[in-house]
């Protein structure tokens, strides 16, 4: 009794909701051809799906069961239907017509349940089906020349399970299993480990998120320190369709060469891409700390990192300044100056002392002053010439000057010395007489 009372208003509400969904068309009519016959076929579609899914949804909502009983109540039916549609070659994927089903929507169970109905409804032309969805519509007679337009399902890619493990020679790391948006703890690998990654690609637009075979299932290892190292590795198909596996064996030289022998922290990014999906999916599960042996890096690591010009040829080279030989070491100038003083003082001192003990009384008669002066001047010029040769002149110039000076000096010398000689002989004769 009480149950029937709760049933009636709930049925009415759900019927109104379905009618509204059918009426509110979010897209411009995508199917241009066969618009007349399309409603009938589409109704057939919705009718099938509604039978399979719609009524059950209503029942569950009525029962007040918040959890989706979908996986248990409907074992495989909707999955099979969807799988058939996915594997057919896509015909005119209509990107603009779909309201973008985001991953946030996928997580809310209530909305997901109505999603397939909405997708099919959105793909319909503008003429809505005003009749309530739960009641089955009799299958209309198909005209033979009309093609059955199977509107392709547009999947929304996501990763459902992600597992990572680092296996070494003697140790096995823990298997970390997560689902997005969780992240794994940082993996650590060295030159002898293998990093095993397993993940599954699924269709987020469907309620039970069936596994989906995608064209691109890559894992990008990006150097977090910004050394321009980015390695993209493709994951291959694992046990089943939609499951992908990637084993990165760092004991293999080729793998290390792909990583350019760079030890660093690499962030992982999973990329999923498919021709039927309008948008790729990228998600970062965590990071990997790679420690390759230092010797390895020093000898095998390329001088040129990817993305940078070769420093040998194309970069500024370091400046070289020549280091000159140090100047020749000489004894300190004090010693030289002391020696100079000694050289000057000692001989001259002796000479002057010796001369002082002699009696020198120069006597120049005034009449013969001129030749004596001339002789002394020319003699002095010789010494001046000696100084000049030491400082300024070269041999040729010197010889030139000497050629002039020598006869002049000879002349004046003869005059002066002959006068001295005459005086001395006169003095000697006087001494003899006396």
């Amino acid at each position: 009794m009480a149950r029937r009372r709760r049933l009636l208003p709930s049925i009415f509400i759900c019927a109104v909701a379905l009618v509204l969904l059918a009426v509110l068309d979010f897209s411009p009519g995508a199917v241009a051809d066969g618009a007349d016959s399309a409603p009938a076929q589409v109704d057939e579609q919705t009718a099938v799906l509604a039978d399979g899914v719609g009524t059950e949804v209503v029942v569950d909502a009525v029962a007040g069961n918040p959890e989706p009983a979908v996986p248990d109540a409907i074992p495989n039916e909707p999955v099979e239907v969807v799988a058939k549609i996915v594997e057919e070659p896509p015909v005119e994927p209509v990107i603009e017509s779909t309201p973008a089903p985001s991953t946030q929507d996928a997580e809310a169970p209530v909305e997901v349940r109505s999603e397939p109905a909405a997708t099919k409804a959105a793909a319909k032309p503008k003429a809505p089906a005003p009749k309530s969805a739960p009641t089955p519509v009799p299958v209309p007679v198909k005209e033979p020349e009309e093609e059955i337009k199977i509107l392709p399902h547009i999947p929304d890619l996501m990763v459902t399970e992600f597992a990572a493990q680092v296996v070494g020679d003697d140790k096995r790391g823990k298997v970390q299993r997560i689902t997005p948006p969780a992240t794994i703890k940082q993996l650590t690998a060295d030159g002898s480990s293998t990093v095993k990654l397993r993940f599954s690609a699924a269709d987020a637009s469907l309620p039970d998120k069936p596994l989906l075979k995608v064209h691109q299932a890559f894992v990008v290892f990006r150097d977090a320190k910004g050394e321009h190292n980015e390695v993209v590795l493709a994951a291959t198909q694992g046990d089943a369709d939609g499951k992908y596996t990637l084993d990165v064996d760092f004991s293999n030289d080729k793998t290390r060469a792909r990583f350019h022998h760079l030890s660093s922290t690499y962030t992982l990014t999973v990329l999923l891409g498919s021709f039927t999906s309008p948008r790729g999916y990228s998600w970062s599960p965590g990071s990997l700390q790679l420690n390759l042996p230092d010797a390895d890096a020093a000898t095998l690591r390329p001088k040129v990192l990817p993305g940078q010009p070769d420093p040998v040829d194309y970069a500024v080279k370091p400046e070289i300044r020549h280091v000159f030989r140090p100047p020749q070491k000489l004894p300190p100038s004090i010693v030289s100056l002391a020696a100079t003083a000694a050289v000057l003082v000692v001989p001259w001192g002796f000479l002057l002392w010796a001369w002082s003990s002699l009696s020198i009384s120069p006597r120049i008669p005034p009449a013969s002053l001129v030749p004596h002066a001339a002789f002394l001047v020319t003699l002095g010029l010789f010494y001046v010439l000696l100084w000049a040769y030491w400082t300024v002149l070269n041999l040729g110039q010197l010889l030139g000057y000497l050629a002039v000076l020598t006869p002049v000096t000879a002349l004046t010398g003869r005059l002066a010395l002959s006068e001295v000689a005459a005086r001395r002989t006169a003095k000697g004769k006087e001494k003899k007489k006396a």
Partner: protein
């Protein structure tokens, strides 16, 4: 009368020559375009008309045309070549193309999905690998979605340009993404190769049929996937390979695109997720920049006016001495927009080499000492010659990606000190100087004493 008539006609001829449209390329204006059929040029009318506007004489020939010759009797018949033929190798084999490049001809080769053998072999000569036939570059994240129902993940949007000011103008670098529908290229270890446009982390190459699954590592992916790359030979001939011929087509040049999902930059460590809506593809700007760079209208450098002298002199000697202070200068110009312009760079270096470099100094662009002319920048530096005598080579070898390689060298002897190049008077010899002088003085005094003593 005759002389005046001759002079007049010579003047007329000179005037006419100057009035003719002169190509803006630094190395000539004759372009040969090879197509499968002559009618195909209508598909690329925007690109070819831009070439004509830039002053090139464009000659169209079919690839199978026997008269399509690039080199005749050891001389180039054309200055540049564009290879757009897709179906057949035609008459020009890879060997003939290489011969053309050796004679300093520039080549722009668009490879496409099924490249003919001669283009594939020609690319291999430069260590550029082309993926197999019936493969395509795929990107599920960056593709052209304006084609609506025909939106295919094989017409991708690429904007990972090489950050090279020599190749790209600022408007191209910050402009729209390039529509690319073609095959992937991969570079080998050739130091003369230059990446121009690469894929992002999400780009890869696989069989063009969508049903084939990715079962192993693709031929190339990520930023190693080259969409457009070039090789610049040591004689500065440029050969550019672009993996998509449709990039130059009218449809893609004039196409509107709406860029979706991720865009990634050339710096590999950053993957920026930006949703941008552009209305115009960057194909026109990209094609213009690529063809300008390949045909020597951009990024061309030359050295002129190399000069050296001692610091306190102004004339150039043909030999110097150990430990001389030298001033070394030269002028560098860049060819851009049809004229030689001053080229300013902070990293031009001169080396004094005798087997190994003894000196490497950075040349400063001079602005004050000797003002640069309107066509060149003067670079000056001063250094002291090493105290090693011998025959030195002064070299400037400036190689930067995107710019043409410029090189100058001059051999100069550096001689040892002459006997009179050393210091003249030494403090350490002062006792000897004093001794000699005092001996001379003493001898003079002694003579006086002897002469005048009684």
């Amino acid at each position: 009368m005759m002389a005046r008539g001759a002079l007049f006609s010579a003047l007329i001829a000179l005037f006419l020559l100057n009035a003719c449209a002169v190509a803006k390329s630094a190395s000539g204006s004759r372009v040969l375009v090879l197509l499968d059929k002559l009618d195909d040029r209508a598909d690329y009318s925007a690109f070819f008309s831009s070439l004509s506007e830039r002053g090139f004489d464009v000659y169209f020939k079919e690839a199978s045309d026997v008269s399509a010759k690039l080199v005749d009797f050891g001389e180039r018949l054309y200055d540049h070549a564009i290879l757009f033929s897709q179906k057949s190798s035609g008459v020009l084999s890879a060997t003939k193309l290489v011969e053309f490049v050796k004679l300093e001809g520039n080549v722009l080769a668009a490879v496409g999905r099924n490249p003919p053998d001669n283009v594939r072999d020609f690319a291999y000569e430069f260590n550029v690998g082309v993926d197999e036939t019936d493969t395509a570059v795929i990107d599920h994240f960056n593709f052209n979605s304006t084609e609506g129902a025909q939106s295919s993940h094989t017409t991708i949007l690429a904007n990972a340009f090489a950050p090279s000011a020599a190749v790209y103008s600022q408007s191209t670098l910050s402009g729209g993404a390039v529509l690319y529908d073609g095959v992937a290229l991969k570079f080998g270890k050739n130091p003369l190769l230059l990446k121009l446009l690469v894929g992002s982390a999400t780009t890869y190459t696989w069989g063009a049929r969508e049903s084939s699954d990715v079962t192993e590592q693709p031929y190339v992916s990520g930023s190693e996937l080259i969409l457009a790359g070039a090789a610049q030979t040591r004689s500065n001939a440029r050969v550019t390979f672009v993996g998509s011929q449709k990039l130059f087509s009218d449809r893609h040049i004039c196409n509107d695109t709406s860029l979706n999902q991720t865009t990634s930059r050339f710096k590999l460590h950053v993957l920026e997720n930006i949703i941008v809506v552009d209305s115009k593809s960057g194909n026109a700007a990209f094609a213009a920049d690529i063809s300008k760079w390949t045909f020597q209208e951009r990024g061309v450098l030359k050295i002129s006016a190399v000069q050296h002298h001692k610091e306190d002199e102004s004339f150039q000697r043909d030999s110097y001495r150990v430990k001389d202070h030298i001033v070394y200068q030269l002028d560098i110009s860049e060819y851009r927009d049809g004229k030689w312009r001053p080229f300013v760079a902070p990293d031009v270096q001169v080396e004094a080499v005798m087997i190994d470099p003894y000196i490497r100094a950075t040349l400063q662009p001079s602005s004050s000492a000797k003002p640069s002319s309107a066509t060149a920048t003067t670079y000056v530096t001063k250094f002291q010659l090493p105290d090693q005598y011998g025959v030195f080579t002064f070299k400037v070898d400036y190689r930067r990606p995107g710019y043409s390689w410029i090189f100058t060298k001059e051999t100069l002897p550096v001689q040892q000190f002459r006997h009179n190049d050393y210091e003249r008077f030494l403090v350490v010899a002062s006792p000897y100087y004093a001794a000699a002088l005092s001996t001379a003085t003493a001898s003079f005094l002694f003579m006086i004493a002897v002469m005048y003593s009684s």
